[in-house]
Every structure is written in C-alpha cells, then in structure tokens.
Symmetry: C2
C-alpha cells in the first residue's frame, strides 16, 4: 500500500493558501489574564441576544419550512429589498453573501488569476489579502495613512493595470484611516477616466464618532453615473458577526457573475440567518446604530486617554474618528513582533502590523482594538503595553 | 467617462462560471399548478420547526455572546466532537463546512487547477461539476448505473492520473445508484494500490430503505489503514438544508489545508447554526432518522407503483434502495428536453439528465425527485408524465 504525500497531491494554489499568522497568534493571546487588544471582534454587549431569541423562535415556528429549506442564491428577497432601499439601488443589484469574506473570495474568483495585478492599500485588511492570494495575483500596494491611500502613489501604480482597486475608505482595518471627501472625489475621478473597477469595503461605515458620515465612493459614483464601484458591507459590525450575513452591491452584469460564482461555493447563505437579520433590522435600527456608535466612541476615548498618558516619546498612533482600531508606529528599527514578546510577558497582546502589508514592510507597526473591553481594562492594558514598550526602548535600564 | 465592458474585465475563470441550467429551469417549474419532480429539496414536513424554535431561543438567550460572535474556522468544538464520535475519528480530522457545496469548492481550490484531471461518475452531482469547473480542470468521466461506476472504465481512466476521484457510492444524486460492498472493496483496492485520493460524498447515507447501510469507502479505508479517502456529509438531508451545516473528514494534513482555504472563503460557518444542529442531534437522533427513512420509503414506493402503471414500454427507470431520486432512461433518440416541453404543457416537471454529465451525453435521461410530495400528488404527477411521454412516443395518435 502506498503512503500519501499530501503536499505532492495538492494543486499549485495550495502553496499560496496559508493559515493567517494573526489567527494563529490570537490563540496565544487567549491565555487567561491576558488583556488582548489583538482581536477584531465586535463588542459582545451590543449583541441583541433577547431580541434575536424571540425573533428566531417566531421565525422557526411560523415559517420554518422557508427558514430551514434551501433558498435562492441571490438571497432572501425582503432582506435584499431592505438593503436596496437603504442604498437607493435596485433589488437586482444586491447579493447577500456569507460574510464579507465570501464576497472577497468571489471577487477573486471572478476577476483574478495567476499573475493578474490587483491594487491594495498598505496596510490593508488581512482577510482580503488572504482571499485574493489564493488566486495567485500580483499585489500592487500604495501606502495608506490617516487620510487613506497616497493618491500620487496610487496614480503611479495604476499604470500596472490592476484588475481592481480594493479600498476601505472609512475607518480602515487596520489603520483606522478615513479618506476625506476631496480624496474620495479625486480617486473616483481617476477611476472614471480609466474605466477602473473599485471595490469599496465599507464594513465600518456606520461606526462614526462625529456628526455624520461621508458619502461612500459608491454613492459618489452613482451620482456621477459611473457603474464601476462594487460595494461591500456587512451586518457583522453593527449587529452580530456570528450570523455571517453581509452583502455586495454591483452593476447587474457584475452581480450576475458574482451570483453564479456563489452558486458554486455555497449555494446560498443560510436562510434562517437572513430572515433573522431582516427581522432585527426592520424596527428600531437607527436607535441600535446610535447605541453602537456611543459604545465604540467611549471605548476609543478611554484608549486614547490611556495612550496619551502611557506612551513614551517617539511612538506615533492614530486618533480614530470611527471604527474599532488604533494604529501605532514604533520608532524605526523597533520590531512590533519583539514588542509582542515583551507585551505577552506583561499579559497584554496586540497584532503586529506586518501581515497587513501585502508586499512586505510595516515591521514597526501594530494594531490595537478597543472594541471588546471596558474602560478599566483598556487603561490597565495600555499601562502594561507602556511598560513593555519602555523596557524595549531602554532595555539597559530594566 | 469610460463605459465598462464587464466581460472584458473578468478573469479567465469567469467564462467557466455559469448559472446552473437546472437552477434556471427550476424557476419555470414553480408555476402554480405544476407538480414538480424537478427539485432536489428535502421534505419540509420533516423539519423540526418547533424543536428548533425552542432550542434556538435558548441558545441565543443563554450563550448569545458565543452564538453571535466570530468563531473558529474549524467549527464549533462540541459539534466536531459529535461527528468524530459517530465516525470513530479524531476531532482534529473534522471540519465543519457551510454546506457540502463549500467542501466541494475547497477541494477544487486545494487540489485542482487549469488542466488538472479529475474523475467523476457520469452522471454525477451537478453542484460538484459546477464547483470543480470554476478551477478549470479536465473532467474524466466513467459511466455509472444502479451499482455505481463501471469499474473497468474507471481503471482505464485512472491512467490519466486524476487528482482525485469524486464518488457518491450511496443513493447517488442523480442516478440513485448504490455501490455494492464488493464494488466498494474493489474500488478501494485500486485506490490503495495507486495512492489515489478518493472524495466520498455521502449526503444520502442515512436514507436507506432496507435493513441497514453498507460501510462507507471511508470506513473500509480506515479499517485497511489507508488515509486517502476524504469523506463529506451533511445535515441538509437528515435535518434541514437551510442551516447550511455540513462536514468534511480527512487525514489531518489534508484537513489543515482545507481549513486554511476555508479561512479565506468565509472565516467560519455561522456559529448559531452549528450550535443549533448540535443541540438538535444530541437527543433523539436515531428516532428522527427512522422517521426520515420511513417518509422517503413511502414516497419512493408511491412513485414506483405509479411508474409501474403509467410508463410506456421502452422507458427504463431505477428502483432506488434509498435516497430521494428515480433516474429514467428514455428510448435512444428521445430527448428529455423535448419531453420537458410536453410535460410542462401537462403541468408536470422534472430535470433533464444532460447537465449531470460533465463531459456531455445523457440527453435521453432524466431525474425524478419524490421527496417533497405526498402519495396523491406523486400519482397525479406520474399520470401526467405518462401522458406527455405517450404523446411524444406516438405523436401522430394524439
């Protein structure tokens, strides 16, 4: 009998498919006693447990034969209609996906292939890098900061002819950056002139701390009559990620191809989950969003106050205007991975920034999430982080 | 401003990704008054609506912070443990997938690529053909009938070096075929000699009408110490498809790569759905399965009695020993698509067999599902089908 060498049996893509280093890291940070700023998880106190319990029971009793049966690939029609109404688009332009992660995979499947260029911010969302990488593209990256991508670098990179641009203009993961209106307009102009496809990932759209939100690239494009922006968003950050319900909005021709691709990857998103999201959103949604914003605003404030007090000189960090993350730059030459070792000794954790850079770099950066903790834990965690940092900056004095 | 020609913007894979003709067809058959044997849907009267309502409410109230939060890619540990116990494998060998359709996509992602040969039965499950096709493989097919694949043709096809064999040994979709024990043993022997990977899709495993079920290829392989069988099964046919919970079992090395691939495609299967399936299976599961078998046994009997009475000579059909389907062969030269036209005039529908043949053929075949109807509707539907068939066989006499 032959033994099996699995690696020799896999296809070429298998080499590109790797575990997310961050996911592996998260396991370390779940040690008891560790205060973790590492995860990207939403605040569980915001989950509508009781309301979901009541509604799920009602749905299963009253329309269990729909909720438990196979459903259409496009999604549960009333939920698609609700999304269409929000965004002022046609129902035919809305596809429900099994989390936004699935939309990223579908985009890879439809637009990418080995060697195809695709443009991302550096840093960018790790899940997107992971989803696209399986298709073997050539990553083009442009630096991104508190005001989004560097538009001059972006213009230069466009010469390489990317299949699409993947951008998170509002409260970017991991940088927390927010593209101002002028930058959105300029970027859109560049895309329109070249007939470029822009994928706008807008999962954090509603988590603004100020008085309102900026128009999305998608909205600006529609106003200008440009069909080339594909819009992704999710109920994970505003309702509950465990349900895995998100949506993609695109020109009908693009949406049809994404839908056909989805048919082959999971037939459809679970029906119960879609009906439940629809029922939870039908009433009282503006009030829920206000509460979500309030909670994250307070957590962000607590973290920024603590950072102000604890961070030594030479450490730069963003002041987020929304979302779930603070992005930090250590002095050049200092490694965030080395800091993580020290931090874990102090029982505090974060995510090193390196993996968020699709083409390398960012070794001195890191991401801090304030989403899952209360103010006291945040203070204590930042105090520990400050201690770890000082020990690394001046090891001889420790 | 440039207009967009989406087709020119898509990658090479987009051409291979097409809507399932059958899914399009199903829309036609949903006209009121049509008795449809077309769908592959399980019987909705078997869905545990009340029990699911109670349990879902309890889960969301008592552990909503788990059910609604992000979860591990591998799946909800207690559900993995339950599957591992059933199959006598280690927890580390079980991956929960978002329906079996996802497992098929993951297999394509990990094992296939453009031009890579993969071996299927003809006919085979349409969803598998669709999932694999997106990766651009070269399909090898071997004829399959009531006793599964033709093993001589299979041995011949193995010379082409397929990356894996995809087989549905029990109550195949669409053919209803059942590989006898001797054929399973011989096939496994062939795989072991060559170190071949076999993917066994066993979604219909529990739906046997006789006294028990045959050992799976996976079980036989484990007994023989052979690690090369990857086993897929699902809760769709025995519990409820709308929850999209299924599982893959494989050697840890293969499972790890499939898990890494899953991380990039949807992070994880919805947590609520996994806990719900676990709660529903924990108690009274043998009794539930007995009821499921009973219901399908009766429906199959009703359909076979009606076919006996109504089918003209020259029409051959299978007598299923389990599962949800009867497979029919019309006399050579008669087209199932032409029959469908006539059948729809009589308000009865089925699925033509052609699309189930990955490399073409099968134009005179069709699939009848008896799963969603009661005996009376089945009788009436078969009567209408007989009428349509006779009008096609002897049009001059109508």
């Amino acid at each position: 009998m032959k033994a099996l060498e699995w690696h020799a049996l896999f296809g070429r893509a298998a080499e590109r498919i790797q575990a997310s280093t961050i996911r592996e890291l998260l396991k370390l940070t779940q040690r008891p006693g560790v205060i973790s700023f590492a995860g990207g998880l939403p605040a569980p106190e915001l989950f509508p447990k009781e309301e979901a319990a009541e509604k799920a029971a009602k749905i299963l009793r009253e329309k269990g034969e729909v909720a438990l049966q196979y459903g259409p690939t496009e999604g549960y029609l009333p939920l698609r209609a609700l999304v269409a109404e929000w965004l002022g688009v046609k129902v035919e332009e809305v596809l429900i996906t099994t989390g936004s992660q699935q939309a990223l995979d579908l985009l890879g499947k439809v637009f990418l292939e080995e060697g195809a260029p695709v443009l991302l911010e550096a840093p960018s969302y790790l899940g997107a890098i992971q989803a696209f990488r399986a298709y073997g593209p050539r990553f083009l990256t442009v630096p991104a900061g508190e005001e989004g991508p560097d538009l001059e670098a972006l213009e230069e990179a466009l010469k390489e002819g990317p299949r699409f641009l993947y951008l998170i203009p509002s409260f970017q993961n991991p940088s927390g950056g927010l593209m101002p209106l002028w930058a959105r307009e300029r970027l859109l102009q560049m895309a329109m002139e070249r007939g470029l496809v822009v994928v706008e990932d807008d999962a954090y759209r509603e988590l603004y701390f100020g008085e309102g939100r900026l128009p999305s690239l998608f909205e600006l494009a529609r106003e200008a009559g440009y069909p080339g922006v594909i819009y992704l968003s999710s109920f994970s950050k505003i309702l509950a990620p465990g349900l895995r319900v998100a949506f993609a909005v695109a020109h009908p021709e693009a949406l049809l191809k994404l839908t056909q691709a989805k048919q082959g990857v999971d037939l459809h998103t679970p029906v119960l989950n879609q009906i439940l999201v629809h029922e939870l959103l039908k009433e009282g949604f503006p009030e829920r969003l206000e509460r979500v914003r309030q909670v994250y605003r307070e957590k962000a404030k607590a973290m920024l106050e603590a950072l102000e007090k604890e961070m030594p000189k030479g450490v730069r960090y963003t002041r987020p205007k929304g979302g779930m993350f603070v992005w930090m730059e250590l002095p050049k030459g200092l490694s965030a991975e080395a800091l993580l070792g020290k931090a874990l000794e102090e029982n505090v954790a974060f995510v090193p920034g390196g993996p968020f850079f699709a083409t390398g770099g960012g070794e001195n950066t890191l991401r801090l999430s304030y989403a899952t903790m209360d103010g006291k834990r945040i203070q204590e965690g930042v105090r520990r982080l400050g201690k770890a940092l000082r020990s690394l900056l001046a090891p001889e004095r420790v």
